[in-house]
Symmetry: C3
Subunit: 448 residues, 3 copies
């Protein structure tokens, strides 16, 4: 055993465990989204997240990974690495860090699944299941991989320009967020969400504990998402130590500022906004976590925490009905995070990076960040818009009015998320002695 | 510090963290099982899982580990290693990978607890708590360790024959699943589950979000369960990189196929089945994850995803009342997974393994797998059957009819999983000023 | 790359992942506490835990870490390391294990947040949000850091005396527990909790599944909390292998003994107590996990499992209203755990430690443990008491009577944890065609 082999073993373990953490974020998304919407649609959204894991992993394995990380063509797409079989010698970091292709695939696949899942929240409570499956496959096989290629493939256009997007404020979050906006526009708002005068009805979260659990799981997953993106344990290209602290401080600042801002604005600490504020901080620092100082991380997180509140309100004014705030959190704050690198990046923090505007680097980096961000955002918005339009024309994307009123859980899965599970459930049962009887509860107050 | 010491440090950290992930699967089991059954029994089942952790860890420490991994006697049981104290020089991999006995114990103990917990789901809604505690102790101290010894102890009969069961489709899942079948047969079905004509009443899941959360946690835990079984980070005996991808692709294929199969069969994507399909894929790939190609992993997972649906229906026809599908997921798909190694294993994937039927290895490996599988399955079924019969005769295993109708939460623990927690809960309270009053809610719609 | 660099890479990955596990315990605390209390206050308590993460991380970053681990002054407080910027050469283990300051900060910060969160449970259902935020900041910036300095800073008074508190039964749990007692005394009991004769009304847990999920997450987090405190993977100062097993066996013994003890005492296995029993075992072994034998760990856990039941009842008799048992679990069992080191510690287990009374070390270690424990307990109790008194006088700490009856979720956040999410929710909506209508459910039994 050589020293390098040992070092490679560490990197392998590290990235594998980081992949596990990122994958576990699917549980977080599922609970967050289910909690934020009505009970009658909560099972359906969880199933959509689960199907992201299933068809998403397969789509990324069959096609997506190759398009994203295969040997570059035209700076836009890859042509090898399908089925995670190739040695991927075009990715120098695999040899440098001694990462097996399969571990690298696993980490990247968890990211791909996350992009699809971001959209699941925005289209909640009204989208059919089967077209969602198609979208989920396309997002992981095609839409996200091209965006990722542009930024993260060594041959990608923006990679070559020097765009810095450490763990994907642009490549993952902005892509997911702006795809969400396109989906929501084609799909239209939920019945009853907006009045004729454009003002919105509040449709309450059915379980805030579930939503908060989801947020905690997501935060936990970010311990893999951001530092795992270093792909090694030895500080090459970005110190995992710095990244993890920057990530956590930004989240803390985001949550705190959302709490304080809503306290001032509404007179109470808004629970949903505080949850989304912490997530906004996480999303916004995702691009810059390796490139900005801890103080800058706090500032970025704090701005995101206010921005997300303003964004949620603004998006609602445009009647873009996003039940969980995915566009605000991922689209707006992801975009902000990508741009923030152009402002706050400092070679004093990470010599592999570049100086942003505030570190004397001028407007160059900011320009590159903006160009890359706008391109992948337009790409994600455009392809999703077209895909949804096509699906709408051919198979239909929206459930019927009666089904929407009754809820997607019944219409799409034939069951409810929460059964009336008291024993006096009105079902006349026949026991194995052939006696017919109807259960009746002795405990009358027992209603779940 | 030498290179070997450093390598051993990595292996130690890796197996310890994998053990944590496997242990966390207990949370997954608890939520999955609780969600799939009625609210009135949901606390009881969670308590059974918690008690698995308690008496199971102690049982495996006192007795089980020694029986399973101690110095072999007759190819059947071990005679050293009790209390995790011995150096265990009979296990060559401990020295090879530099694993402290205690870390190895922790990883194995989490597996032992899982076996007991598989059964907790099958006996849900009708089994008494104290005999369950006895079973849980016996399963981790005796039933599982002997089965595990046969397959995984270097002196075990099937280990010597060359049986390949990387992380335990047979040793863990088939054992747990067929023990569940025995338990269910002795215990009998829940009141009202079957009509005289043999057809089943549907008893709905009380909380699908909880069940799905459990499934996500289980999937997350499998990032430790399967790759952790390599016991090292350096690809010796099985590459953790390959294992983790095979595991995830099989899960994805299992979930996707269950979704599509139920869509075709029932006209809707069945939520419970899709959840169980993903788990079926995980269970089925557990034996072969290090020995089969990624494409084979997808095929194995896909077959398991269909198989589990058929199995659930078939088991119900035989009036074996398994409220959570444990027999189908763990017994049937675990057995399939163990056999699938005999079909799909390829030395091209893992030179430490063997070739299965489809790789030109003929029927030899398949025969060994079948022999080992049948033996441990009969062992698990038989010992559980006898233990349940003895407990039935002496202490009783089933709660009374009235208690079953009211629910095990009240009969066994004197409380409900979900309290009527509105403030107008009918309780007349006396405050500290001595005034007697009854709370009344101002918000009449507030019912949880 | 040198061998040392590689070893340092492992330690860095290990401590970072341990930090993630400890941080994830916040999800555990949130779910445990929310589940144990009434639904009407469950969102508020979750928000308090979330705000601990936010203002706590920032407070520990700005001030707390420096006070705790900076260059020592008078044995009481630190004077460097603020903003996690200094190289911290006063902490010899950072250089020895090659830990970046930032990773060390992250691990320690997760501990600081936990201390504040322990108190959140005790003050549940009646404390205002904004003074809680102040407390949370002060606890992580000031109260805990000083206590931690005394025990864990190389210049701290009790560190120099040889106090052994591996992962903080005293420094974390006793501090959090006795701070809770002070908070509860100033705050007073919930309306209706105690009758004039001093006996207590039972206020039921609104969701035991949520509470149990929290406990499982906490147990999972302890895989980082205790072994992570070794700060290295190579057994220097304490073997992570031994620590993880001792920790799990103590938890198992705690849970089992609580179950058996309540079975004997009440005739049923008490669910809340069994959950708290497992946690009590974890808390009690936290000081000694690296210093006592596995058998001693089982004994310590078992004693804690009984002690917590007795403590909960005793504390209730003194009308200290602690809705989740935080004082019993963390205060009483943390104190017991710190003292138990003085009894059970053995140099045969860890030569870096000392012998306790039962290993022939006489009363010296027990005396040191007691002195350190009493000091930090009095410190935590006293400062919290004073802080709560000051806040009570200036901003008020308790919500009004009507608000308490309606619930803190409404009074503090203007929303409920669980919405009435049936579709016939009484809201008259106006759709985008301008039609006014009121949803009515077709499924009349659908009430969540």
């Amino acid at each position: 055993m050589t020293i390098n082999m040992v070092a490679h073993g560490i990197n392998t373990v590290w990235v594998l465990l980081a992949a596990a953490l990122v994958f576990f974020m699917e549980a977080g998304f599922a609970m967050l989204e289910a909690g934020f919407i009505r009970a009658k649609n909560s099972l359906n959204i969880i199933m959509k997240v689960l199907i992201d894991c299933c068809s998403g992993l397969l789509g990324y394995w069959l096609i997506g990974f190759g398009l994203m990380y295969g040997v570059d063509k035209l700076g836009i797409f890859g042509t090898s690495g399908f089925l995670a079989k190739s040695a991927m010698s075009n990715l120098p970091w695999l040899a440098q860090f001694g990462l097996p292709v399969e571990v690298y695939w696993m980490f990247q696949a968890a990211f791909a699944v996350a992009v699809a899942t971001i959209v699941s929240g925005a289209v909640a409570e009204r989208m059919k299941f089967l077209p969602y499956m198609i979208f989920s496959f396309m997002a992981t096989a095609f839409i996200y991989p091209i965006a990722g290629h542009l930024i993260w493939n060594p041959g990608g256009i923006f990679y070559k320009m020097g765009m810095l997007d450490f763990a994907g404020s642009a490549a993952v979050h902005a892509v997911g967020g702006w795809a969400s906006l396109a989906a929501v526009i084609v799909l239209g708002p939920r019945i009853g969400k907006y009045k004729k005068d454009g003002t919105a009805n509040v449709i309450p979260a059915h379980s805030m504990p579930l939503a908060a659990l989801g947020a905690f799981i997501l935060w936990f997953g970010w311990f893999g998402f951001n530092p795992g993106s270093a792909l090694n344990a030895f500080g090459q290209g970005g110190s995992i130590a710095h990244v993890v602290v920057a990530t956590n401080l930004a989240a803390a600042a985001g949550g705190l500022l959302s709490a304080l801002f809503t306290q001032v604005k509404y007179g109470k600490v808004d629970a949903s906004m505080t949850i989304n504020g912490a997530l906004a901080g996480l999303v916004a620092i995702t691009a810059g976590c390796a490139y900005v100082s801890l103080t800058s991380a706090v500032i970025i997180g704090a701005i995101a925490g206010v921005l997300v509140v303003v964004a949620v309100e603004t998006i609602d004014k445009f009647r873009a009905d996003d039940p969980v705030g995915a566009i605000a959190v991922h689209g707006v704050c992801g975009s902000f995070g990508a741009l923030a690198v152009g402002l706050f990046a400092s070679k004093a923090v990470n010599s592999s990076g570049a100086n942003g505007l505030f570190s004397g680097g001028g407007l160059h980096l900011l320009g590159v960040q903006a160009l890359g961000l706008v391109t992948v955002s337009v790409w994600a918005f455009g392809t999703t818009f077209i895909l949804f339009k096509i699906m709408k024309a051919i198979v239909g994307i929206r459930i019927g009015r009666d089904e929407e009123i009754e809820g997607t859980d019944m219409s799409e899965h034939g069951m409810r998320a929460y059964a009336q599970t008291t024993i006096d459930d009105g079902i006349v049962m026949e026991d194995d002695g052939g006696n017919s009887f109807k259960f009746e509860s002795k405990a009358e107050t027992f209603k779940q």
